[in-house]
Symmetry: C2
Subunit: 222 residues, 2 copies
DNA sequence: CCCTTTATTAAGTATTCACTTAATCTTTGG
DNA sequence: CCAAAGATTAAGTGAATACTTAATAAAGGG
């Protein structure tokens, strides 16, 4: 397999591959064990490299985790796909945003483990990344503009806070997966089966769209 | 403070207090550090006892965590307060259930840390507790019955799955807190301020109630 | 008032783990 | 074709950590 046993001193092209492989291994380890449960030597073993290569490329455990988080956030923002939704009418744009957010987490369970661990650490790693800090600004702009368009054409209610809506969409797509093990146990139901996921996606879209389209009697009365 | 330095061989009454104190310390440590980040000697120090007393009472780290989780789940079910909501009309009952679930997590942030860690461990600890396994059955019954009453009197849409609704209510009350650190960073907003929490609670109630009261064109077309 | 039981502690121990030191092997630019 | 730089590894090291052994102190029943 793979040209036999690894040998010392390989080309920069090969070593770039190794770096990617280490990152993949680290992502798997961190997302399933959490930062504290993850072991550096387990990452090296997963990647099939000597443990010191991990230190050579990434410095230390914290820096490696930061690198993993940066890649994860790029995946997240790619999935949102908001750039391609600007052309749609408000209702279609919103339901597509919900669907793509839902897909984001179902397709990338590892992101949930990473976020969960990072929140246990009070976001101390991503705080070091200026790249991540402003990653969501375009998405919030998109949500705000789409809401405004919907209000203007009379399909959406007014007074909805874009940030609040974003949290609601994410919550509905995230919680049933982040808590799938405890929920599965107390609800006596597997929440990760294909049917269960499909049913939940339908439910989530319906919840959010019926909220947006509902003309509230007393919404946003500060 | 507390009759000076602790002495050996105290009465069973005092020692029951110590056991409670250890449990409180363990709850604080586990919820802020996670199972893997938590340190047994930190728990002993927090409780002000010798570390071996922790082992004497609880056996080992895993068993201690199980004890903490059992206490947490009792708190959870107490907050839901579903027993006292059965008397209300469907709409009031549902909005109260949302509010009490919301309060549950805002008032008990430690529960979020515990659940997060337990899910990272695939619920391996609570699985050992038969006490927890069926704790939610009455709540799901309550939700199912309240939905049926609402449909019968014409205020609620039909075809809503009680389990799905429960997850939605919990998700909306949980996610903004479980992910408060990463969200706070990327959204440039403090989600734990009193005003922010009040605004979110209003939003959450409105989202769920407008979903339930919306007469969907094509809901639950399985 | 003794003796069993329970509470509490002191002082280890074995292991795990993040990280380091220092060497060797390969490639590649000059 | 040599030398510097980079890739890769072997073999530690010191601190942290879950847990144990074994001793002591007091309570409380008979």
């Amino acid at each position: 397999m793979e040209a036999g046993r690894r040998r010392r001193g390989r080309s920069t092209k090969d070593s770039a591959d190794l770096k990617v492989e280490i990152l993949r291994a680290a992502t798997a380890e961190f997302s399933t064990k959490g930062f504290d449960g993850a072991r550096m030597d387990a990452i090296a073993r997963r990647a099939g490299v000597n443990i010191n290569l991990v230190y050579h490329y990434f410095g230390n455990k914290d820096a490696l985790f930061v690198a993993v988080m940066e890649a994860a956030y790029l995946t997240i923002r790619t999935y949102h796909n908001d750039i391609n939704l600007r052309a749609l009418d408000p209702e279609a744009a919103m339901s597509e945003l919900v669907r793509s957010t839902f897909r984001l987490f179902s397709d990338n369970l590892h992101i949930i483990g990473l976020l969960s661990s990072e929140n246990m650490h009070e976001a101390c790693h991503i705080r070091q990344s200026e790249q991540i800090r402003n990653l969501y600004n375009p998405l919030l702009d998109f949500i705000g503009e789409t809401l405004a368009r919907g209000v203007a054409e009379g399909t959406f209610r007014s007074g909805v806070d874009p940030v609040e809506l974003f949290i609601t969409i994410s919550a509905q797509s995230y919680f049933h997966l982040s808590n799938r093990h405890t929920l599965g146990f107390i609800l006596h139901r597997d929440l990760t089966s294909a049917e269960s996921l499909a049913a939940r996606q339908r439910h989530v879209v319906e919840v959010i769209l019926s909220f947006l389209k509902h003309q509230a009697r007393n919404s946003s009365d500060a």
